[in-house]
Subunit: 341 residues, 2 copies
DNA sequence: AAGATTAACTAAAACGATTTAGCTCCTAAA
DNA sequence: TTTAGGAGCTAAATCGTTTTAGTTAATCTT
């Protein structure tokens, strides 16, 4: 039933070495023998034992992927990008979600290192504030690629979007639509994305000579629809008047839209709203939601490509490049900012 | 830099066996020794080598998961359910997507078997019409659990919803809303879900003495928004009048809604529409979409639980149970069927 | 005090592949 | 007829664990 090279070798009157070489197309095995071995192997349904092979090759052709969460269209698309590339390049993907917890993230990293993955691709949890586990990856000679939620200070490859620029563009779009009292529902304080989008927001205001008002900046910790709703409510009830709103995620924007619609506030004519991520639901909501396309599939693809290029670099030149890729974003204009000027 | 039991043993003046036993809490190692070993191991940052361990234990504590696609909220939620249970039970997940191709599905199964996963959890591709690769899993002594898109004839554990009942309930809901000319945009001909939902549709019609009209049943192969739009258009242009529509997925329903809205047809008052899956976008679209909640997270959780129970059964009694779980669905009433009676 | 028991270890084989070094033939050149 | 060279294999070590079957020394029993 279970088959090994040894058994195949015995059946074919060969050595295990011969069988192994035949299957791996070594040049010192005759074509005739290779054919015999391969057809026999197919016939008996032999399945190679990757675990055993690893012991000598030191390669699992396995990559660990860690997401903060997985029921999120943005991360699903990144996963699709990664998976496509992985399957094309004959890599196996191991996956886990940190549920936005640094401890779980650390546990996963450790687990993956014990699985002897060739590399780890990850997006950091919100509250990841300490990076010893990332250093651990590198010091275990495992290639590390951070995507989306990255840590600038860690020495590894990274892919992200230019969040500051994107935040700038989003805000500037509102300004060009004539908004001057622009609120920002930003993300949590730690994550780099959240910081950068906020900085982009401030930069746009500053460039267009609009005074920054800290009261117009509220923090959404989880980036959920519910939070968006509650923040909108809080802002509204505080009496602060706005005519534009830039939200850190589409979900937050959807929550805000829901609240403003309940209050019979006209979007976009009274308040223009822009989200972030270009989720599918944004195109179906009424009014449809202007957003920033983060090119999620491409980000996944690029993360995997970075890994592959680093792996090659390590194999051929025994060094890493630690590249940092910044992907361009795109403003997707829809009804929620389509104000009549 | 890289550490093994052997090196640790040498450093601590123990045998590798002793170190291994200490780490695995064997009773024949003193508490004092265990403490020394564990603290040393932590100090030098030793990472166990799961691959090597497998060679003796024959357990990878790794499970392969195969989805038809992954950028789909339904599957993301199943994944979340699976992942949660996996992480809680200290299993590692390997993941792949078949992209609705049987060949890719077969390739993945084979790859996972070579990785020596303890089990495979999978949802079949649309065009999977032949199951030799599934038999292969079983004959390699690997536990197989099918979820969502299952094959009735394969001898393994399964979780799905009762699609026929769900299709029945969806259709009956329309009937109770006064609809009598009910169309059905069904899924492709092969998948069991698609067949069962269709059968449920017919059963509801029959029970309520409504004549079945084959012209009102159109096939959506991919279940996409675009297809929904085109099918609605086709039906509309064919001149067939309807007052109710049951769609195989929310996406198809969204496409249909989009078309009917363009035609200024009042939903729900002229046509009631019901989808399937309770995707998030359904709650944001206007009118919000009545749907069937498939309990995706629970399905994932149950798939993993089935695996765990089968694994235990195999370990303790050396046999499998091959259970078949059918989860209850729930009708989520929203605006698209909220007709004034 | 001698034998039995127990606590706490170790030795060594085994898992299934890969790979280096070496061994046979056989052929062709000298 | 040697012999050098190459083609096509094999032997055996090795990777890092686990686990069975001891082994040793200390303790207990009578």
């Amino acid at each position: 039933m279970k088959s090994s090279l040894k058994q195949i070798a015995k059946a074919l009157n060969l050595s295990t070495a011969g069988v192994s070489k035949a299957l791996n197309d070594y040049p010192d095995i005759s074509l005739a023998t290779k054919k015999i071995v391969k057809s026999y192997v197919k016939k008996v349904g032999y399945k190679a034992n990757n675990q055993a092979a690893y012991l000598r090759t030191r390669k699992t052709r396995t990559i660990g992927v860690i997401f903060p969460e997985v029921t999120n269209h943005f991360f699903s698309e990144i996963l699709e990008g990664i998976m496509d590339q992985a399957q094309k390049n004959n890599y196996t993907l191991i996956i886990g979600h940190s549920k936005e917890s640094m401890d779980e993230e650390k546990r996963l990293v450790n687990q993956f290192l014990q699985q002897k993955v060739d590399g780890i691709l990850m997006s950091l949890a919100q509250n990841t504030s300490e990076f010893s586990h990332l250093e651990d990856v590198v010091s275990n000679e495992t290639i590390l690629v951070l995507f989306d939620k990255i840590a600038r200070t860690v020495n590894c490859s990274k892919v992200s979007i230019d969040d500051k620029k994107a935040g700038f563009n989003a805000t500037e779009h509102l300004i060009k639509k004539g908004c001057s009292k622009i609120a920002h529902f930003r993300g949590d304080l730690n994550p780099q994305n959240s910081i950068d989008r906020y900085l982009g927001y401030r930069e746009a205001l500053s460039l267009h000579n609009i005074n920054y008002d800290a009261n117009k900046v509220l923090i959404s910790r989880k980036g959920s629809v519910k939070e968006g709703y509650l923040l909108a409510k809080k802002l509204y009830e505080s009496g602060i008047k706005i005519d534009g709103l830039f939200c850190v995620t589409d979900m937050v924007a959807l929550g805000a839209i829901r609240f403003f619609k309940e209050q019979k506030i006209d979007i976009p004519n009274e308040i223009c709203i822009i989200g972030f991520s270009k989720t599918m639901v944004g195109s179906f909501v009424n009014p449809s939601l202007t957003s920033i396309d983060q090119k999620a599939i491409k980000m996944g693809k690029m993360a995997m490509k970075l890994f592959i290029s680093e792996e090659k670099m390590l194999r051929t030149e025994n060094r890493l490049e630690n590249q940092y890729l910044e992907l361009k974003t795109k403003l997707i204009k829809r009804e929620s900012t389509d104000k009549i000027l």
